[in-house]
Every structure is written in structure tokens, then in C-alpha cells.
Amino acid sequence: MNDIFLTVLLTLDATIRVSTPLIFAAMAGLFAERSGVVDIGLEGKMLAGAFAAASVASIVGSPWAGLGIAILVSTSLAMLHGFATITHRGDQIVSGVAINILVAGLTIILGLAWFHQGGLTPALSNESRFLSITLPFVEQLALIPVLGPIYKELISGHNILVYLAFVVVPMVWWVVYRTRFGLRLRAVGENPKAVDTAGLSVIKLRYKALIVGGVLCGIAGAYISTAHNAQFTRDMTAGQGYIALAALIFGKWRPLTVMLACLLFGFLDAVAVRLQGVSIPGIGEIPVQFIEATPYLLTVILLAGFIGRAIPPKAVGTAYVKER
């Protein structure tokens, strides 16, 4: 019994670690899409952030410096996306995909040129990483049944960025639903003309949304290379940007439900790792690929209208043109 409890706890613990970058990226996507800009470049911005963070952290020796640069790089890419799609009204999907491809190639080339380790960055020492934080009273509380282990294994022992992710979500909710910026953000993604005729700038609002998204993607990238792992490896985001986008749709563009979607997809990932090579009685060995495909399958089922309806912001995907 105790063993099973501990296994569940450890799986949930892994879920939280895996979900963290998804949450940051999905919140980034939420800002972009709520403003009316499709952000398929989440993947590329995360990857660029991961590379920048690992590179700088390995040279400077501080994870915070890495985080700062990751945010800077990711935000610059977001501005590139904005320049192409908001200022010049380019296709949002094409621009996003272009960023993903650009970053996938550039990180490897720069890695080779700078570090000569086959596209990797040097392994990070503990001082240049975000390390786990042990919360106070863990040992004292460990003896309490059920709650003690939960506190020790699940809640304590994560790095600062994990905790940040779970602080960011209610903050995003608050910004989107309780502030002036949030009201305008939601309006510009639904009916930019209403925003324009109210005397507000559609372009400025959309750029602001992309900046917020860029910052969040940068944090997601830094987490992947300097907190969850200890170096940059090629294509290390491995499609998490797309999963985050799927979670955004699955969560119907609402912060709290999007977070839950991220946790669900993270849980599936954690289970997939745990089930590798394990034979379940009566079923046999479940192919890992099947579990890995589940988030996408769920999203497709949702979009087909089987689990409620996912209605995107009305103006998403279209550039704003002031017309006669």
C-alpha cells in the first residue's frame, strides 16, 4: 500500500516538473492568442531561450544571468513575429513556423561554433543551475501520515521556477479579468474594430501581448536547460511548444483551465516514462508512443466538439486592417 502511495506521489511530483514549462509557454500563448495573434512559434522561442540560458549560465556561472538573457532572446523573437504579422500583416502561421525552423538550426550552429561539443553547451555545475529548494519543517512533518509525505515529496523540493509557474497562473487570471490591460486584451482578440473606434491602438496592444508572451517563453526555455536539465541539447524542447498550444486550446483560452490541461498533459508524460517497459496485467505493455500522442488526440477530440466546445477568440489569426 505504502509503495503504491509513494509511486503515485513520485509520478505526481514528476508531473509538476514536466508541466512547468508547459504552463509558462501556454500562458505565453494565451496572451498572444487573446490579443488575436496565433503563436505557433512558442516552440522556437522556448528553444532559443533554453539555448541562451544554458550558454550564458555556463560562461557567467549564474542561472539568473541565463534567465535574463533567455527572456531577452525570446522577447526579441516575439518582436520579430510581431513585426512580420502585426506591422506588416504577414501570415501568422508562416511567421511562427519560420521562427521555429530558424531557431532549430541556429541553436545547433551557434552551439557548434561557440562550444565545439557537437551542438551541446557545456554541462552546468550546480552553481549555474536553479536547484531544488527544500521547504522548512520537511523532516518534522514527514512523520505525519499522508500529509507528511505529500508535503515532502510533492510540495517541497522543487526549484524556484516551478513555484513561480504556479504563482504566474493566478496572476495571469487576475491581469486578464481584473485589469484594464486585460479588458483591452480580450477585446482586441474578439473585435479589434471596437478597440480602434474606442480610440485605442490595436497595434500597440498586440505588441504588448507579444512582449508578455516573449518573457514567459524565455522563462520556460531557461527552466528546461538550467533547472530541469543541466545543459542544452539539440531540439531539447521536443515539441513542448506544440503541446502547450494544444493545452491552450484544451483549456479554452482560460488561465486556470489551461493550467489544468498542462497538468493533465504533463501527467500523461510522467506516466509514459513510468510505464516504459512495464507490463500491465491484462493489457500488456502499452506503447509509449500511444501515451505521448494522447494530448494531441484529446485536443482533436475536443476540437471536433465531443468535450464541450472550444471557441477561439474571434479575431485570432487575422491582421487588423483599418478599412473604409
Binding site: 479588458l183 471596437a194 485605442l200
Partner: protein
């Protein structure tokens, strides 16, 4: 002498080579209702957009309430006291009324205070002007009339002293329009200046104090409303004499060409859009179908044109019967001699990216006249289009011009030409003059009457009551998918039709779908009783 609310002097505006406004001057007195009329493309909307800071004028001077401004965005115009209610409402549909109103003037970084203050202020405005709306309702649950109120509240909340309304009654029932005019009265009493842009001369005559007429980007006349009349205004708008009343003789009605019995039709969601509709359409008459937009008229047209299958009942056309089991497609009906001019010309009438000659053969592309073997003959297609353009005076008469680049009136004339020049027995026609300028309206009406006089049957669906009353010989009224009124055109007036459109007449049970004239006079008697 009242002070001036607005003074525009020498406003010029070009879009590329197009001259939208040329040396426009306008004076609007404070606290007046000032009408601005003109045909489509006369430059009214451009001028108002300049006044609202949406566009910048190339030259000219703008004075608002005695101060000179040069607006570079709408924010400045709003600050100067100008509010605008656009023809297509600028509302966020999934926001509440309150959220829509405060957008752009939230009163601080956080919403809570702004929302509370706005709630108080809007309640006050609502009481003062009779503009009652549920502040917590989301926009998509409100009727069009209420959405328009939200737009007016939005402008007033932002401190508008001058309210510009662009075609405000286009989407309203006569009763809703009355209510709007009552609100105008209340606003005027409080010293609000109202600028009304419209093409409805009746409204101009009924509620404005002054009227200015635009034609081809220029101001051609300013009048005090009491010193002018509809005929003069129409002439000023078009630049020539216009017949407002359609000139038509008595109908020479013959045998029925179409008999609809107990027609019921459900949409894809299973909602019944037409309920037990019965009527007859006879050769040599125009049957008008009136109703507030969205009460089953579109569905009726689609059912009769064979576009949408019916659920029960029957339609007999030219001796062939259609029912739920045996449906005839639009192509077969077209071959039989049933022509259809759809309500929405951009969605169903033509393809805006196609050239005029391509749009002119939609539905008739298999006609041997324009084919040679497997291929369409380009020359014949062009010749066909040229001929249609000549017959219906489509301008410019260029078959290669993209359909989108014609004005609304000329697009409509092209579609009418396509459908009418093949001499159909039955013509189904929806909103023939929506977004069409007054000169073209006259032309279109004449062609419809000509068809009637040639012994064809015409079914006319329109939300314009004036049009229904002047063209039709008989009128049926749809409300919520049911026939709620049948009346002959000569005994119809706006009030009666309005009551029928709201299903507020209660002598419906005695209505005989295949009514004779004495039944109609009994309906007329009812309406007279009501107005007495």
C-alpha cells in the same frame, strides 16, 4: 441664433486616385438634429470618419464647439465631445454591456472602480434618456435594437455632446425606429447635437431640423427641413429628377404559378424556421413578403429556390410538385423557369473575386450558348456579359473587371440581369435594393414591374416596408416563421404592417391562405378599428 457644434471648412480627402471628399463645408448648430444624405459612395461616411478622427483630412479645418482641432486618432475626437454609432456596431460580443461601455475609458489600471462608477453613471443616463439596458447581459444575447442602445450609451458615457449615427434604422423594426426617434428627442432636449446619416428621405423629413446633401464627394445643398420636400432632396442627391413613387398600372392577375401548402422547414439544428406557411403566387402579380429580418424570409427563399430541403408540406411550381420526399435542386428549378436573386449578393449572388463575365454566368455555365465543346468559350462568355450589362445599364460596362470592384448597385444589376434576361416564369427576389443607391433603386423597381406586366410571377422579400408597399400587389407578413398577416397593397400602411410583423394583430384565425379580395378588406377593417 444657436452656437455651432460642428464647423467643417474645405475638407479634402483622397484615397489614391479616388476623390472621396472635395472642399466640403458643413455647419451644424448645437442641439439640432442634422441629417446628411447622399447616395452610396457620395462621401458621407468618409466625412464622418474624418470628423471622428478615424482618417485624417488632406486639407481643411475642423471646429468642434468653437475650438479648432486636427484629430490624429479617435481618442482625440472622443475627448472633444464627439461620439459615433457605426452602422455595423463596434461591440465585443462576448463582453457584458458594462464592459463594452468602459472599454477605452476604464478609469484606472484596475477594472473594479471603473465598473462600479460606470454602473452608477449608466443607470443615471438610462433614467434620464429612457435608455434602459440590462448592464450585465452579454451583447450576443441582446436584440439589435438594444445593441444600438449600448452604442449610444457608450458614446454618452464618454461624454459625447455630439452624436453621429450612421444609418441607424437600417436594422430596426418600425417600432424600434420609433423608439430610437423618441430617444433622439430626449437627447435633443438635453442639448445633445445629433448628426444623422441616412438614405431614408422619410426619416429626414420626420425628425431632422436641417439637412445637408452630398453628391460625388461634394456638399451640394443645405436646407432647413421645413423648407424642403422628399422630391427636392432626391433630385439633389441624384442630380436629376427621380420618381419616388413607382409608376405602375393595375395588376392583370392570371392563374397561379406557384402554390405553397403547409410548408414547414427546420434548419440544421432542428429549429423550425418556417411553420405551416401557405400562399399562392399568381402570374402577373408581385407578392411582397414583409417581416423583420430573420423571421423566416431567408429560409422561405431558400426553400422555394430548392437550396434547402423542406420538412413537410408541399410546393407546387409550374405544375411540378416538391415536397419533403421529392426535392428539386436549384439547377432543375432554374431550367424550369424559376429564377432566384439571393438576398445576400456577396454570399450567394456572385463571387467577388471573379470577373464580371464569370459572375454573370454562375448557374448558367452549362448553357450551350456560351460553351464550345468541353470548354467555355471566352468570347461568348464576354459577349453574354456585355449584352447583360447593356440591358441593365451596368457601369462600368467592362466584363473583365473584378466583381468586387463594382458598386453595390451595379453588382445587383448584374445579378438581376443574369436572372431576368432568361425570361423566367417565376422570379424569387430577396432584398433587391439593399445597399443600392437611389438612382439604381428606381431602375430595379421598374424592371420588376415590367416582369409583372409581362405576365410573370414575382415573389419579393424585403425588409424595406416602403419597397414592399410600393411594388407589391399583395403582401404577406412573416413573424417567427409563421404567416402573421395577409393584406392587399393598397390597404396596407406602415402601422398595420408593423403590428403584423410583431404579430400583434389578433384576428389571425380567420385568415384564408388563398384569400379573395373581400377577405383582404376585412383585414383592412381590422386595422382601421385599431387605429380608431
Amino acid at each position: 441664433m444657436k452656437n455651432l457644434a460642428i464647423e467643417l471648412t474645405g475638407i479634402d480627402k483622397h484615397f489614391g486616385a479616388v476623390r472621396a471628399n472635395h472642399k466640403v463645408c458643413l455647419q451644424v448648430k448645437q442641439g439640432n438634429i442634422h441629417g446628411i444624405i447622399g447616395e452610396n459612395g457620395a462621401g458621407k461616411s468618409t466625412l464622418m470618419s474624418i470628423l471622428y478622427g478615424f482618417y485624417q483630412a488632406d486639407a481643411g479645418k475642423i471646429d468642434v464647439l468653437g475650438n479648432t482641432y486636427s484629430f490624429t486618432d479617435s481618442h482625440q475626437a472622443i475627448a472633444a465631445g464627439i461620439g459615433m454609432v457605426h452602422q455595423h456596431f463596434m461591440l465585443v460580443e462576448n463582453f457584458t454591456v458594462l464592459e463594452n461601455v468602459i472599454l477605452g475609458s476604464e478609469g484606472g489600471l484596475l477594472l473594479a472602480n471603473g465598473l462600479a462608477a460606470a454602473r452608477k453613471e449608466l443607470t443615471r443616463l438610462g433614467d434620464e434618456y429612457g435608455l434602459k439596458v440590462d448592464l450585465d447581459a452579454t451583447i450576443d444575447t441582446l436584440s439589435v435594437g438594444l445593441q444600438q442602445r449600448v452604442e449610444i450609451l457608450k458614446a454618452l458615457y464618454k461624454g459625447a455632446k455630439i452624436l453621429i449615427l450612421d444609418e441607424p434604422t437600417g436594422v430596426l423594426t418600425p417600432q424600434e425606429a420609433e423608439e430610437l426617434f423618441r430617444i433622439f428627442g430626449a437627447l435633443k432636449q438635453q442639448g445633445v447635437t445629433i448628426m444623422l446619416i441616412t438614405h431614408k428621405l422619410r426619416e429626414i423629413m420626420a425628425i431632422t431640423d436641417q439637412v445637408s446633401v452630398m453628391r460625388a464627394g461634394e456638399m451640394v445643398a443645405h436646407r432647413d427641413t421645413k423648407d424642403t420636400n422628399r422630391e427636392e432632396l432626391a433630385e439633389l442627391m441624384v442630380g436629376r429628377k427621380v420618381l419616388l413613387q413607382v409608376d405602375k398600372g393595375p395588376a392583370n392577375v392570371r392563374a397561379p404559378l406557384m402554390t405553397v401548402k403547409h410548408l414547414t422547414m427546420a434548419d440544421k439544428q432542428g429549429v423550425e424556421r418556417l411553420k405551416d406557411v401557405s400562399f399562392e403566387l399568381r402570374a402577373g402579380e408581385v407578392l411582397g413578403v414583409a417581416g423583420v429580418s430573420g423571421n423566416g424570409q431567408s429560409e422561405l427563399l431558400e426553400a422555394l429556390a430548392g437550396i434547402h430541403p423542406i420538412s413537410s408540406g408541399s410546393i407546387e411550381m409550374l405544375g411540378v410538385e416538391m415536397n419533403a420526399k421529392s426535392a428539386l435542386g436549384p439547377d432543375i428549378l432554374r431550367d424550369m423557369g424559376v429564377a432566384h436573386v439571393p438576398e445576400d449578393r456577396h454570399r450567394m449572388g456572385l463571387i467577388t473575386d471573379f470577373s464580371a463575365s464569370e459572375s454573370a454566368l454562375l448557374g448558367y455555365h452549362t448553357d450551350p450558348k456560351i460553351n464550345s465543346g468541353l470548354w467555355l468559350s471566352k468570347d461568348k462568355v464576354d459577349a453574354n456579359c456585355q449584352q447583360l450589362m447593356q440591358a441593365f445599364d451596368v457601369r462600368p460596362a467592362d466584363p473583365h473587371l473584378k466583381s468586387a470592384n463594382f458598386s453595390g448597385g451595379n453588382q445587383q444589376k448584374l445579378i438581376l440581369a443574369r436572372e431576368m434576361e432568361r425570361n423566367p416564369e417565376i422570379l424569387l427576389i430577396g432584398q433587391p435594393t439593399r445597399g443600392v443607391d437611389i438612382g439604381a433603386i428606381e431602375f430595379i423597381h421598374q424592371r420588376i414591374i415590367a416582369m409583372r406586366d409581362a405576365g410573370k410571377a414575382v415573389l419579393l422579400v424585403s425588409v424595406e416596408l416602403d419597397e414592399i408597399m410600393s411594388i407589391s400587389d399583395r403582401i404577406i407578413v412573416l413573424c417567427d416563421g409563421e404567416v402573421t398577416g395577409r393584406i392587399s397593397a393598397e390597404s396596407a400602411d406602415e402601422r398595420t404592417l408593423g403590428m403584423m410583423m410583431a404579430n400583434a394583430l389578433d384576428s389571425q384565425d380567420s385568415l384564408d391562405p388563398f384569400h379573395s379580395m373581400d377577405k383582404e378588406s376585412s383585414t383592412q377593417a381590422t386595422s382601421q378599428d385599431l387605429s380608431a
